[in-house]
């Protein structure tokens, strides 16, 4: 057994404590706690944390060595959110960064990690949690010394009586403080006095990520654990016809409806047995018609004759008549593919189910949904279920889903032993819940002076919301990036037409922005070209009323050197994206080293996310988003033939490599903490249109279909 896990036998004691903690979204009470950090993640992150007690208030625990442990209710999948939220709490706690530890919060305090909401929704909450803890600790010291709390000085978790010079540590005061009721409105540190917030504090999870000790879901090991691999029905909509016999060397075969699991003594044995298993599937009669060509042709029909969602996603003025009377008109239709998420850590989940309890160790963006899934599969109450969220080897929206969690729970329940279920890469890529394909028509009309008078966007795409039953048949989905554009355009119509294709679709980093930003920012560029206006000048002319976006655009253009001519053999392009409360502009420079091959040489990114809690992480997220955006634009797609996905492995799912990565600069503009925006997703959307616009300037060829180079999608060593 690895020391990174806890035995199921200890689960029950934790359950009761978790139930006790449950429901307190913000801290209103402190109470003593004398247990060790319990999750695999906590062990990975806080291996040196003391285990002999302290206090906790639902978010903050004071440890015996005067370190503090901050509970983390989200998913750390590389975006640095664990560190950002710890900065908020530690700032107000007035401790040194070296005193900070983290551990996963109880499930009831978990939040869904998506929509780039981590900092936006929790930054202030974690400041309040830290300030409350500090105030009761100070109150305890003040009572001992018989002085006013305001007379105490606090630094690095030590409280000083300035008159006598006496000191008390947080650890010495923890038990006393635990009996005190904190203020609902504690005094927060003034922004000008921040020591940790607003600075590039080193990430708390990184030491464990350079020495192999970080525990991702796939690394969980339990005593007596067996291993499962899955074969999902290759055909969309298909189901298992009958349960195959258990092959020799395997422990069990478990039917899972649209999949079958094989259980063996190690991962490889399970993989091999699953691969070789002879399985009969019942496939729907319509599957033979489910192909990318047909889906595209249906989208073309829907573009013309489909019924848009009602009311329209955005309707301002009369876009149609402004378009028909425009001096210059652009109509262009852009086509985008289904996209797999491609997390480096394949889907996996470890579960242990008994008649009275259930534990799940899983890389998830939605620990509370995992609990609900476990309740549904096991029939046990929430109080009997413990979820241990682990580090995620990438999430990207895929690990919000419950398919792999449900499978692991079903297998664990069927075999009565702890089991880790792992998807082979081939299953992971061919059974994704893909970014929807899309067909987007953009109509732009400009008057005789070159001013844009009308914008009409019609997006035809399958709906993740509708597929989940979260949206009415006439609702709008996938319109982010088309509605609410920053440009001054007096007449606008943004419509959504739902495509009924049954390919499972989900939430892919930046959701609708990844579809519409490509179409809209390409069309804006096409109009600038038609008007023979520089694309920067054209965009600037429509941003006089939006100082933030204008500043971001100007910064990116300046950073690239837009005002000087592009070097010979280079083409330049721009794109803007407003999403998740933040504004991003990219200015890029591309070349064509050989016919039909695009090389991205430089990217200048500018972002205004209101306030950068950790500027280094803002930079990292922009770099990473841009790199993902470039690779996806070049080669990313999954196609379907007779209901079967094309994506298999990296052999036909090409990823950008280091040698293909451009020089990237990131400028951060901060227009105020009251405008706090998200950062995890915003780098992705503008990459594709900026590249297409640059390619047009370089070659004269307009790229309206993603990916740009579908025939170059192969990778091998």
């Amino acid at each position: 057994m690895s020391d990174s896990t806890t035995s199921p036998a200890t689960a029950k004691a934790r359950v009761s404590r978790r139930a006790f903690l449950g429901g307190s979204a913000t801290i209103v009470a402190l109470f003593a706690l004398d247990a060790a950090p319990v999750t695999a993640m906590a062990r990975a992150l806080a291996a040196s944390a003391p285990t002999d007690g302290g206090i906790i208030n639902g978010w903050i625990q004071i440890n015996a060595d005067n370190s503090v442990t901050v509970a983390f209710g989200g998913a750390e999948m590389g975006q640095g959110i664990l560190t950002g939220l710890a900065q908020a709490a530690a700032e107000e706690l007035m401790v040194a960064w070296s005193q900070v530890r983290t551990q996963a919060a109880p499930t009831a305090q978990a939040y869904i990690t998506g929509g780039s909401y981590g900092i936006r929704a929790n930054f202030q909450k974690m400041r309040v949690a830290g300030a409350q803890a500090r105030e009761v600790l100070v109150a305890a010291a003040a009572a001992i010394w018989g002085i006013a709390p305001s007379a105490c000085a606090v630094a690095d978790g030590v409280i000083t009586n300035p008159t006598t010079g006496a000191t008390l540590t947080y650890a010495q005061l923890a038990k006393d403080a635990a009996t005190r009721t904190p203020s609902a409105t504690p005094t927060l540190t003034a922004a000008g006095a921040f020591r940790l917030v607003g600075r590039t504090m080193p990430r708390l999870d990184l030491p464990s990520k350079v020495d192999g000790s970080a525990v991702f879901g796939i690394d969980v090991r339990l005593p007596g654990m067996v291993h499962a691999a899955v074969r999902n029905c290759p055909t969309i909509g298909g189901t298992l016809a009958r349960t195959p016999a258990t092959p020799s060397g395997a422990i069990a075969v478990v039917p899972l409806g649209d999949a079958v699991a094989v259980v063996a003594s190690n991962t490889w044995a399970a993989f091999r047995a699953a691969e070789k298993l002879s399985v009969s599937w019942t496939t729907p009669t319509t599957a033979s018609q489910l192909s990318s060509a047909l889906i595209t042709s249906q989208a073309q029909t829907l573009m013309v004759s489909g019924t848009p969602g009602s009311p329209a996603a955005e309707q301002i003025g009369d876009a149609a008549s402004a378009y028909s009377s425009a001096a210059t008109r652009i109509e262009a239709t852009y086509q985008l593919p289904y996209l797999p998420h491609v997390c480096m850590e394949v889907l996996n989940c470890t579960a242990s189910v008994t008649s009275t309890s259930c534990e799940v160790w899983v890389p998830t963006q939605a620990a509370n949904w995992v609990q609900a899934t476990a309740m549904a599969v096991t029939g046990l109450p929430a109080s009997a279920i413990t979820v241990h969220p682990t580090l995620l080897g990438g999430g990207l929206g895929r690990k919000i889903e419950q398919d792999y969690v449900k499978q692991a729970l079903m297998v664990a329940k069927a075999i009565g032993r702890p089991v880790k279920l792992t998807w082979r890469r081939e299953e992971d890529l061919s059974h994704d819940q893909y970014r929807p394909m899309g067909l987007v028509r953009v109509r732009l009309g400009a008057d005789g002076s070159g001013a844009l008078r009308s914008l009409a966007v019609r997006t035809v795409a399958p709906s993740p919301l509708f597929q989940r039953g979260w949206m009415a048949p006439t609702g709008n989905d996938n319109v982010e990036g088309a509605e609410g554009l920053p440009y001054a355009i007096p007449n606008r119509l943004v419509e959504y037409v739902r495509h009924p294709a049954p390919v499972p679709v989900g939430f892919w980093r930046s959701v609708g922005n990844s579809i519409n930003c490509f179409a809209v920012e390409s069309a804006i560029d096409e109009m600038a070209s038609a008007l023979r206006i520089d694309p920067l000048t054209f965009r600037r002319s429509m941003l006089a009323g939006d100082a933030r976006t204008l500043a971001v655009l100007d910064r990116a253009a300046t950073d690239l050197g837009w005002s000087s001519p592009a070097p010979a053999g280079m083409g330049r392009g721009l794109a803007i994206s407003n999403g998740f409360g933040s504004i991003v502009a990219l200015a890029v420079e591309v070349s064509q080293p050989s016919p039909g091959v695009m090389r991205v040489n430089r990217v200048a990114a500018a972002v205004d996310c209101g306030y950068a809690v950790n500027p280094g992480q803002v930079e990292s997220q922009l770099e990473g988003g841009i790199i993902q955006g470039i690779g996806s634009a070049m080669w990313g797609q999954t196609t379907f033939s007779r209901g079967v996905a094309s994506s298999r492995n990296f052999s036909n799912t090409r990823m950008l490599l280091m040698r293909e990565t451009p020089a990237i600069t990131v400028s951060i503009l901060q227009s105020g903490m009251d405008k706090l925006g998200g950062i995890g997703e915003v780098g992705v959307p503008p990459a594709a249109p900026a590249l297409a616009n640059a390619w047009f300037r370089l070659t004269g060829n307009r790229l309206r279909t993603l990916p740009f180079f579908p025939g170059a999608n192969r990778m091998d060593d």
Binding site: G78, P207, K209, V210, G212, F216, C343, D717
Partner: protein, 153 residues
């Protein structure tokens, strides 16, 4: 099944395994060192990179039997070498990892490069590190290698 003896990070491990099992899964499931990652199983992504007698190999496509009689080094053993320690610190200093899943393989490839070439150029780093990173840590990994080799101011 066959009885085998491995030398991993200077320690000796004795176990029974199917000789056909990939080295990756011997290291992860039998020996229990989970820093070495499964990413593709087809020798492309590099997440499973380990050293065999000091030379980087993708462990997903080696058989268990090939691990006998050689010195295996995984990311857990990297800190035993001065170059490994310098690189680990530089990866932290440059805040290179994001999700971190591919970083073991990146570090093993980087350390091998620096062991052979004390001051690698950008082009040499590009060539030696063909590892896939879905988070896009490439610029920072490259910067970290330059830092670890004293090439950053």
């Amino acid at each position: 099944m066959a009885a085998m003896t491995y030398n991993v990070n200077g320690r000796t491990y004795q176990f029974d395994a199917d000789p056909g099992m990939p080295l990756l899964w011997v290291i992860r499931d039998i020996i229990g060192l989970t820093g070495t990652k499964y990413g593709c199983g087809v020798e492309i992504c590099g997440a499973c990179t380990v050293w065999i007698d000091g030379s980087p190999e993708k462990s997903c496509d080696m058989r268990a039997a090939e691990g006998v009689g050689v010195r295996i080094t995984t990311v857990e053993g990297l800190a035993a070498t001065p170059v490994g320690i310098r690189l680990q610190q530089a990866f932290i200093d440059c805040q290179a990892p994001q999700c971190g899943y591919c970083q073991s393989g990146m570090l093993m490839a980087a350390a091998r490069l620096v062991n052979r070439n004390a001051r690698p150029t950008d082009a040499q780093i590009d060539s030696a590190l063909g590892n896939i990173c879905a988070c896009g840590t490439y610029p920072r990994v490259k910067r970290a290698i330059k830092k670890a080799t004293g090439q950053l101011a």
